[in-house]
Structure formats: structure tokens, C-alpha cells
Symmetry: C2
Subunit: 169 residues, 2 copies
Amino acid sequence: MTVSLYTASVPVFQQMLGSLADLLAKSQTHATEKKIEPAALLQSRLFPDMFPLIRQVQIACDFARGVSARLADIEVPKYDDKETSFEELQTLISQTQTFIAGIAPAQFDGGEEREIVTRPGTPKEKRFSGSSYLLSYGLPQFFFHVTTAYALLRHNGVEIGKRDYMGLK
Amino acid sequence: MTVSLYTASVPVFQQMLGSLADLLAKSQTHATEKKIEPAALLQSRLFPDMFPLIRQVQIACDFARGVSARLADIEVPKYDDKETSFEELQTLISQTQTFIAGIAPAQFDGGEEREIVTRPGTPKEKRFSGSSYLLSYGLPQFFFHVTTAYALLRHNGVEIGKRDYMGLK
């Protein structure tokens, strides 16, 4: 019994990107209501050598785009990650949703066996089959950054819950 | 192009449970070396109404067992979640790994279309197909708790990194 690589990736990213957008919208409202400077949340970290919230969101979007594009064998779009506000993060998420929504399930055909090389030519180069790239690398990375964004917001007192993270309507 | 529901679940859980065991082993060593009371880590939370580390690990294991068992249509094993030490958490993870390793891929046959009902008879009851249960519910929940455990340890200064979280050898 099987699922397609498309089903195991794009809809999962869509669900969690929608959740991430909602979490950030609630956080922005929270900041406004409590007179919290947005940067106090956007630049918050769980530890000094961890990435701040803004970067967690950028990386989550980057994985959603990059994993989908590599599995569909199309060019990975380049972004310059210059967001500095909640509004710009919402735009980034929305662009990411639009990009992956534009990939047709048929473009994933053959993706399971396609060799995918991450960080080619570097000491961190890794080679995967498409399915192993998604399941052992892409999804764990993507969920890591979405969950860390959630953890950062919860740690800073934003009133969100697991239900918001799950993004199930 | 497809992957089996087994491939999209059990090996993913195995990878991340191995990572969780390593993260906890490093944390225990860190606590010993720095003369930190183990409970200071085990009972730590990112916010007062979030679950502490010990509970995050228990829930991650619970999802690994429960999702695998429901997809294979076998009884979900009951655990009483009484762990109070790093050693007991390691035993819990190890038992969880053994349980899911004992499920044969063939037992997942038909799981994609099997209706799965979570929290039956409660106001939170939800009905899923097997594949949607895994992809829209089980994996997001499982990764949430593994990542939150990682975030808690990082927040408390344990020297671990993304590489440890990924659990890729």
C-alpha cells in the first residue's frame, strides 16, 4: 500500500505553512495588543547560537520550496532572505505556498529513484534517492524549523496551542 | 512514483528515536560533567503550561508506537509513562524501537485506505484514511515532540546540534 511522493510532500508543506502563517498572525496581534516591539519576537532565540524566529521561518520555507523542487526535478528558486517584519514573513510564506502549489503531481514522476545531492561539492555533500531525501532528510528538517518557530513563540508567551501548530481545520 | 506507508513511517520513527536516544545520552553526560541535577533537565519546560522534557519524550514514543500500530491494524500497546530518569527514558525509547521493529512491512498492507479514528467517542474525535492519518497527523505530531525535546535541551545549554537531531550517521 503506497502513497505518492507528491502526497507525502506538497500537501504536508501546505498544511504546515498555513499553520505557520496563522501562528505568525497571532503573534503579530499579540505583539500589537501587548505593545511588544515586533523585533522582540522576530529576533528572539532559544539560545544565543541558535537562529532567531525570522530565520527559522525562512529556513522552513526554503525546505518546502527546495525539497518540492528537487523531487520534481525543477530549478530551486533563489530567495535572498531579507525579511525583517511579520508582513514580509507572511509574503514569503505566501510566495512559497504559491510556488509549491504550481508544481503538478505528475512532475514528481520518477522522483523516488532520482539521485538528489545536497550541498554538492562541499564536505557536507550527501547523496539520496528521492524517497530517502524526502523521508530521512527533507521532512525532518522542515518540521524542525516549523516546530522551533512554534517553540520560540510559546516560550515568549504568545497564546498559541498545539491545535494551531497542527493546522488542521 | 510511490513509497509504501511502511517506508514513510517506521524507518522515519527509527531514525528519529535513535537521534532522541543520542540527544538524551549527551544530555545525561552533560548533566554529570556540569554537576547538574538530572531533574533540572528532565523537568524543564519552555513555558509553564508546556510539557516538560520527560513528557515530550514519552509522547514522541507514544506517537511512534500508536501510529505504527494503527497503520498495521494491531493493538496499540499501553504504557503507563512513569519514567523519572534518563535511564528510564532510554529504556522507553529502546522498547519503542523494539516494538515498531517487530512490525513487518506486509502488516501495513491496506493501511492507506483503512479508516483510523483518533480519540473515538470524545469531542476531539477525528477520522482519517491511513495515509492522511500518517501524513497530516502522525508525522507532524511525532516531529513536534522530538523537536521540542531538542529545543528544551538546547535552551538549557546542552551542547548538541542539528546533526544530532537529524540522526543521520
